[in-house]
């Protein structure tokens, strides 16, 4: 498998990996590569992706009636930092 920057991959999905974790991940990618090879053995030309276990279309749509809303207290109850009824984060973009 080509060289992969695992730290960068991790940072893109908002976490870090230490050196050991990166090394372990390298091994897992080797297994992934072998798994991909197992899949390559299977001819899937003219096969559609299967996204759902049951694909028959549904007809249900929700009626546009408001019937479930949280109080502000409930909405913010789990947030680590709240200011003036808002969820607070220090700064959104790096300056």
């Amino acid at each position: 498998m080509e060289h992969i920057d695992f730290k960068k991959l991790a940072n893109q999905i908002m976490f870090d990996l230490d050196a050991q974790e990166q090394a372990e991940l390298k091994e897992e990618f080797d297994i992934l590569q072998e798994q991909i090879e197992l899949l390559d053995e299977i001819d899937t030309s003219d096969v559609e992706e299967m996204v759902y276990p049951f694909e028959q279309a549904m007809a249900y749509l929700r009626e546009d009636e408001a019937h479930h809303v949280l109080s502000q207290k409930e909405a913010l109850g789990n947030a680590a930092a709240v200011k003036m009824g808002h969820v607070h984060v220090p700064k959104v973009v790096k300056s």
């Binding site: 976490f15 197992l38 096969v47 299967m50 929700r62 984060v89």
Partner: protein, 472 residues
């Protein structure tokens, strides 16, 4: 077990269940959060005594949201999370009179098959505490197997109910996809996730399914299919039932004692009038089970858990910017095992990789499901040993291998998740004092066949309500 429990006083049976779970905790380590049951016992006043689970103590896997009661999915990132709403099945259970006594341990976010990967630590097997419970619904499995509760809720994305059920000598049911609403259930991989249950007896499992099943408008994948009174309809006379034996699995199992137990069961079923024949699936498709599962589940999981960022809920770590908060929170909040899986999932979703990895896996999934439908055509169920060994010791439980035993014998139950077909594990005996079991898969919404044949097996093995004696 439910019927015998019902002969006892409601308060007494619920308190005893809670008591047992607490006593066993230092041995089994199965519980994340114990419930205060007083409020629920009072709430029973509003419920008819003939409600199907009236005053029956139950356990929920800790990925089932319970309003006002901490729900962590055994992940550090949700260690302080107090849901603001009940999962659909919690509403159903309460309406049926069930009393929740505890939230049980699981592999973090459902990702794993050993239950070693829980924030609260490994869960022990009640038959031999040096062995694993299996996972990811390990806590729920051992609380039924140890006799604390007759019913426990689990979820099953690969085999997370059916494998631990087999390791713990109990019934593990994963019904048809869409049979039980997933609303309020913390996901792993949405297209593979199923809600199901553990029980010590087939009748109890059937009763519980009737309570849990049914259309829920909040889950767009939930089914309109009518819900039967499965327990009442159980018919253990299986004369004429057509059973397909899953040869690929038998061939991949090395332990002849497990094979012997299975063959003996097949003979018994034949004696009861069932037609038992052998089928096999294409080998290259069987070898693809694990890769397809690994790729699809990790991809869906990485997206599903993008909401865990410490902003609106969960354990937030400090940082000078929004990005830093997210990165610190998620680095500390997820185990290294989970983070590595997310990276793999994310990688397979990159535009330049999707065709080769993610979409390829989805295409192979279709071929596998078509193959399953082909071999099951004309049969009521597909039957195989649930696992190739008894519950392993801690050190033996290895997650990823490319051996045939691992690819086929240890992972065939994922077929039920790919296809959405209902599937159930049933105990069939013991090997060196450790339980072993079989797994059956039926056609969509034919859970009744699983219960019918399961009841017949139970009658033959005498393992109904068989529970482990835990030395607390």
């Amino acid at each position: 077990m439910i019927e015998s429990l019902k002969k006892q006083d409601v308060r007494k049976r619920c308190e005893e269940a809670l008591q047992k779970a607490k006593e066993y905790q230092h041995v089994l380590n199965a519980v994340v959060t114990f419930y205060d049951i007083e409020e629920q016992l009072e709430g029973l006043n509003a419920i008819r005594e003939d409600a199907p689970l009236y005053g029956i103590p139950v356990v929920l896997k800790d990925n089932i949201n319970t309003k006002g009661v901490r729900t962590t999915a055994s992940s550090r990132i949700l260690d302080n999370y107090i849901p603001v709403y009940d999962a659909h099945i919690v509403e159903k259970l309460k309406a049926a009179g069930a009393v929740i006594i505890a939230k049980s341990s699981m592999d973090e976010l459902g990702m794993g098959g050993t239950n070693r990967n829980a924030y609260t630590g490994k869960v022990n097997n009640p038959w031999d505490v040096t062995r694993i419970s299996g996972g990811s619904s390990g806590g729920s499995a051992v609380l039924v197997a140890s006799g604390a509760v007759p019913i426990a809720i689990g979820t099953d994305t690969g085999d997370s109910i059916r494998k631990p059920a087999a390791y713990n000598g109990i019934i593990g049911l994963k019904p048809t996809y869409g049979r039980i609403s997933r609303y309020g259930v913390i996901p792993y991989a949405s297209s593979l996730d199923h809600v199901g249950l553990f029980a010590a007896a087939v009748h109890d499992a059937a009763k519980a399914l009737t309570v849990l099943a049914g259309r829920d408008d909040r889950d767009m994948t939930s089914s309109y299919e009518a819900v039967a009174d499965y327990e009442k309809a159980i018919n253990s006379d299986i004369g004429g039932k057509r059973i397909a034996v899953f040869d690929n699995v038998l061939e991949a199992i090395e332990d002849s004692r497990i094979l012997d137990n299975f063959k003996q069961l097949c003979e018994t079923l034949k004696k009861r009038g069932a037609i038992v024949e052998h089928v096999r699936l294409d080998d290259s498709l069987m070898n693809a089970l694990v890769p397809v599962y690994f790729i699809i589940s990790n991809a869906e999981a990485t997206a599903n858990h993008s909401n865990l960022d410490g902003i609106r809920f969960g354990m937030r770590e400090d940082g000078d910017t929004m990005e830093e908060i997210m990165i610190h929170t998620r680095t500390k909040g997820f185990s290294s095992y989970v983070r590595k899986r997310f990276v793999i999932g994310s990688y397979s979703l990159f535009e330049e990789n999707q065709e080769k990895i993610f979409r390829k896996a989805q295409k192979v999934r279709r071929k596998i499901v078509e193959e399953l439908a082909r071999v099951m055509n004309g049969y009521d169920v597909l039957l195989a040993p649930a696992a190739s060994t008894v519950a392993p010791h801690d050190e033996d439980a290895c997650e990823e291998k490319l051996s045939k035993t691992y690819l086929v014998a240890e992972n065939h139950m994922v077929l039920g998740n790919f296809s959405g077909y209902p599937s159930m594990s049933v105990p069939t005996g013991f090997l060196e004092h450790m339980p072993i079991g079989i797994n059956m898969t039926a056609h969509p919404f034919d859970e009744q066949s699983l219960f019918d044949i399961g009841a017949a097996i139970e009658e033959e093995t005498g393992l109904k309500d068989k529970i482990a004696e835990v030395k607390a």
